[in-house]
């Protein structure tokens, strides 16, 4: 008996490759197709062959000029937001008589509750910085908050089970978690998503695994819990 033929197609899977490349599969379909590709060399090759189109497809958009005002806004925002990485490098140079300073900086930024600790990234903000970085759990996850806007960055998160999706919840003080957005992770377990809504009053965020389409209240235990 020989092993499975990597070129064998157990179903008409070829039609999923183009919508997969375009990001046009539903989340559960995309996960199923990504799993299918692990054993189907034909689909894997077809996706690899089609993917370069995505690099040039954006150039089909009619050219528009960037306004000077937009450039000023972005540059101003960048200059007012020290990077977490550079802040981290400065820490060892703090004078020995101020050992408490990084602790206070991080404490001001976050208090973290870990649901499932696999690895925690500590990248706290600095005093006076408008940005907050909330380290979370499960692989690596960070919530960046700056200027009232939030961005969740996740790494090494396993795909949600078939028919399920990750759902992000925002918690404000004295209120129940409110549904925010649904997301899936790539085959590499990564996700980067903007968190809709005003983050200035945020008390914490949760991520749960929910049925496709999401729910109005968490139905499972959170895999990521971070409290600001």
């Amino acid at each position: 008996m020989s092993g499975p033929d990597p070129t064998a197609r157990p179903r008409d899977c070829g039609n999923d490759s183009a919508p997969y490349v375009l990001g046009a599969l539903e989340p559960a379909e995309a996960r199923a197709f990504a799993g299918h590709m692990q054993s189907c060399a034909v689909c894997r090759d077809e996706v690899a062959a089609l993917a370069p189109v995505l690099d040039v497809l954006p150039s089909c958009a009619p050219r528009r000029d960037v306004s000077p005002a937009l450039r000023r806004r972005v540059i101003r925002a960048v200059r007012s937001e020290p990077k977490a990485s550079s802040v981290g490098r400065r820490r060892p140079r703090l004078p020995p008589w101020m050992p408490w300073r990084p602790v206070v900086a991080v404490a001001l930024a976050v208090t973290l509750l870990v649901a499932v600790t696999v690895g925690v990234v500590v990248a706290g903000g600095s005093g006076g910085s408008p940005a907050r970085v909330i380290p979370a759990s499960v692989g690596r996850a960070q919530l960046h908050i700056a200027g009232g806007h939030g961005e969740l960055i996740v790494e090494h998160l396993p795909p949600a089970p078939p028919g399920r999706v990750y759902e992000l919840w925002l918690q404000r003080r004295g209120r129940r978690p409110a549904p925010s957005t649904l997301f899936a992770v790539t085959s590499r377990g990564t996700a980067v998503l903007g968190v809709p809504g005003d983050m200035t009053e945020i008390a914490g965020v949760l991520v749960t695994v929910e049925p496709s389409g999401g729910t109005r209240a968490p139905t499972t235990r959170a895999v990521i819990v971070a409290r600001a």
Partner: protein
């Protein structure tokens, strides 16, 4: 990008000036409103500023990464506005770390490829071009497109496959994806 990772705002300005035009063009094409397009581009570049350490030089150019972030942000914006659950495509982290000469050659090649694909896109049958534009520039899933056009899902997927295959062939490396 290494300088951006190190917090060099001047290096970030160079990156912004190099890629903001195509980024804004894509955002405007997707959302059709200058204010929203500017918001999307600003969010995308702030994401780059905060997450430059995540670059993997083996996965492509900064241009591709920025445009993918813009694309994903635009889809997020659609979802916020329409309150429609949709596939959230995570960003693909890529990097450029090419010497200037290679970068220039890469830019020339990219422009040439873009011209080829634009021509090929214009030359697609209307029904195939329509599904590509709805999926990529509109951020719709194949199921949403099928609903909107009153077509079976398989037909929409088939048109996407034919269209992408033709666009790929236009890039000069025909592959056996078109039946």
């Amino acid at each position: 990008m290494a300088l951006v990772h190190d917090g060099d705002a001047r290096a970030f300005e160079v990156i912004f000036d190099r890629h903001a035009g195509p980024a804004f063009s894509l955002a405007y094409r997707m959302c059709g409103r200058r204010a929203l397009a500017e918001e999307i581009v600003q969010e995308a570049f702030m994401s780059l500023w905060r997450s430059a350490s995540r670059y993997d030089r083996n996965r492509g150019s900064v241009r591709s990464w920025v445009l993918r972030v813009v694309h994903n942000r635009a889809i997020d914006a659609f979802r916020r506005e329409l309150s429609t659950a949709r596939n959230d495509v995570a960003d693909d982290w890529i990097s450029e770390v090419l010497p200037a000469r290679e970068r220039t050659e890469d830019e020339v090649e990219r422009r040439s490829d873009a011209r080829l694909v634009r021509t090929a896109l214009d030359g697609l049958p209307p029904d195939q071009r329509q599904v590509i534009e709805l999926a990529y520039f509109g951020g719709f899933s194949h199921a949403q497109i099928a609903d909107a056009l009153g077509l079976p899902a398989g037909t929409v997927k088939g048109r996407m496959r034919l269209a992408l295959g033709k666009l790929r062939i236009a890039l000069g490396e025909p592959v056996g994806v078109v039946p």
